[in-house]
């Protein structure tokens, strides 16, 4: 039991991200409503972002903004890499968030178009309408 707690503390973040991702993926595949699917899509994407952010986290480190370097002329105190959180995953995820919101906007526009045409967003009803035509 005493061994288990460190393992859980070390890994639970990754496990929970997997669960979150499964929720999103399930909603994308199995939900009937197109907007619900879009929500699932967004949950899926944020889960991935959570995963990346978890990679970057370091215990005993602070946010990736160098302190006391305002203006930054000349020499600084030595900077220790262990004091700051890894900035690279954050950069990647900023880009990923932007991409996901762009996709989300386009998908919403498409959903509005589908509704204009078929007056429904339920997938089974849409399939029925399509087979009628």
């Amino acid at each position: 039991m005493t061994d288990l707690l460190p393992l859980i503390v070390a890994k639970y973040n990754y496990w929970l991200y997997v669960i979150l991702m499964m929720i999103g993926l399930y909603a994308m595949i199995a939900k009937n409503n197109l907007i619900k699917k879009l929500v699932g899509m967004n949950i899926f994407q944020t889960a991935i972002i959570l995963f990346y952010v978890s990679i970057g986290y370091k215990t005993e480190a602070t946010i990736p903004i160098i302190q006391g370097a305002h203006g930054g002329h000349g020499s600084h105190a030595a900077i220790h890499a262990a004091d700051y959180i890894n900035p690279l995953p954050h950069v990647l995820m900023l880009t990923a968030i932007v991409v996901s919101v762009a996709t989300f906007g386009v998908a919403m526009a498409l959903a509005v178009r589908v509704y204009q045409r078929y007056q429904t967003l339920e997938e089974d009803e849409l399939r029925m309408r399509l087979s009628e035509e």
């Binding site: 197109l34 699917k37 899509m41 990679i55 589908v114």
Partner: protein, 494 residues
């Protein structure tokens, strides 16, 4: 100091932005802007190809930072070939599609060119980049532009097809992103060469295995390998024809390129074929994809739809060849990227000409087309022969390598599938020829006695010239495929 590697992707991007502005201010300027941008890009691609042939791999450091820190463009023989292919096809298509665009998207011409150029930018970037995450961003650009385009032409069914495309496309891209995340966690780097160097020390890791599987599944979804192909036929057949002509030959081929790049450069063939035992399963999957694509193509009643299923079938060839585990198979797959892009482009150019005149290309509308559009049909026949694999055309040679590779690896099922699918393609195209050639005679269309004097109603000259150029290139690549093999592909595979 020369900046061709940057220019090749920046020129179309700049042109896209300028045409985006011009579409609001003065719409007449958008088309020339697009032409200039694409022309510049094609020119740089040519320069790069020559440079790479002369002096080997080019490295271009974006923002001047050393590779693992900054983003690097790393152009070797394979990239240079695919870059040349993409930019020239996009350029020729731009020349050919002026009339199509005017016809299909008349009030949104300017925006069409903007989206088109952004799409090409994405494809070129995907091909040139040497950075795993940059690849993801560029894949998203190509996808986002395709989503918009698919919904644009067919106002009724387009949006729904596009929405389904979004769901599947996002799953694919996200899987790829996850794979990159797993790789990053294990290696701490995103540069392909750097990652490959670190990976060679930790081959047994389960994380790397999962990363590999995720990347591959993501790319397969994006390239529409058989069970994940559901989005492709609808999406490509609803897109405006001027866009379908570039998305159909290029998108899937670029994804095949990405797969080969990941296999060769990042994970290493050694790791894939010796440490993992997945190759047989994937070759079987490719075999099923080929057969299934062929069978589904047989049941179509629309020319565009039929061609999209043939694309699904062709993807099977390339994936199977790449996973054959020997040099013949891999080189056949790479050669088939080139050939298949040209063949599909030729077919879709012909279809574009037909759409321009006929509006719809269900098989019923095609009757008597040999009389009406002789030149277009000549190009179509040549491209069809190439797809089937008739010797002087280029399709034959890549299939030959693939079959040889299959025999060497002992994958007889794959070789059989290749030959069966060629037969299916032959049946398909002869069915189309039959409709185009004979049927009006037997039906005795209500045009009176006009047997020999069907009015010739050809497509505009610009479109015919493009068709002619590509038809010549089909034969030329066929004749020079030995040279291409020896100069580009074999040196790349070492």
């Amino acid at each position: 100091m020369d900046n061709y590697p940057a220019l090749i992707v920046v020129a179309p991007l700049l042109a896209a932005l300028f045409s985006g502005i011009f579409s609001w201010v003065e719409e007449r300027f958008t088309y020339p802007t697009a032409l200039i941008g694409m022309g510049l890009s094609t020119f740089s691609a040519y320069k790069i190809l020559m440079r790479v042939l002369d002096s080997g791999t080019i490295q271009y450091k974006m923002a001047g930072w050393l590779p693992p820190m900054g983003i690097e463009y790393r152009i070797d023989l394979l990239n240079a070939m695919v870059l040349m292919l993409i930019s020239s096809i996009a350029f020729i298509n731009l020349i050919a599609s002026y009339r199509n665009v005017e016809q299909e998207t008349n009030d949104r011409k300017g925006s069409f060119y903007t989206i088109y150029l952004l799409f090409v930018t994405g494809l070129i970037g995907v091909t040139a980049t040497g950075d795993l995450f940059n690849l993801y961003v560029l894949i998203e650009i190509t996808s986002l532009t395709s989503y918009a385009m698919v919904a644009l032409a067919d106002k009724d069914r387009g949006p729904l097809a596009s929405l389904n495309y979004i769901f599947i496309g996002v799953i694919g891209a996200s899987f790829y992103l996850l794979g990159v995340g797993y790789l990053y966690l294990k290696t701490g780097s995103l540069n392909m060469v750097d990652v490959a160097g670190i990976l060679s020390g930790i081959e047994g890791s389960s994380t790397v295995l999962v990363a590999f599987i995720l990347c591959m599944i993501g790319i397969w979804i994006k390239m529409a390998l058989f069970p994940m192909h559901v989005w492709l036929p609808n999406a490509y057949s609803y897109a405006p024809v001027a866009f379908a002509r570039v998305v159909a030959p290029l998108m899937t081929k670029v994804m095949v390129y990405v797969m080969i790049r990941l296999m060769v450069t990042v994970f290493g063939l050694e790791y894939i074929f010796n440490t993992l035992n997945l190759a047989d399963a994937v070759v079987w999957l490719a075999t099923i994809a080929i057969i299934a694509g062929g069978i589904m193509a047989l049941s179509q009643k629309n020319l565009k739809k039929m061609l999209t299923y043939i694309i699904v079938c062709e993807i099977g060839y390339m994936v199977g060849g790449a996973w054959m585990g020997n040099q013949l198979g891999m080189s056949g797959a790479i050669l088939h990227i080139l050939n298949d892009a040209l063949m599909t482009f030729a077919l879709f150019l012909a279809v574009g000409n037909m759409v321009y005149k006929l509006k719809k290309v269900d098989f019923i509308h095609l009757q008597g087309l040999f009389g009406k559009m002789p030149w277009t049909m000549a190009a179509f026949v040549l491209a069809a022969f190439s797809i089937v694999g008739v010797p002087p055309t280029c399709g034959f040679f890549s299939k030959w390598y693939l079959v040889l590779g299959a025999f060497e690896a002992g994958a007889y099922h794959f070789a059989a599938a290749l030959i069966i699918s060629s037969l299916i393609c032959a049946i398909l195209f002869f069915k189309v020829f039959e409709i185009c050639f004979f049927e009006p005679m037997s039906e005795g269309h209500g045009h009176g006695d006009g047997h020999g004097e069907v009015a010739i109603a050809e497509a505009p000259v610009s479109m015919l010239i493009a068709s002619g150029l590509i038809s010549i290139s089909l034969i030329a690549t066929g004749l020079f495929s030995g040279t291409i093999m020896n100069k580009l592909i074999l040196p790349f595979l070492g």
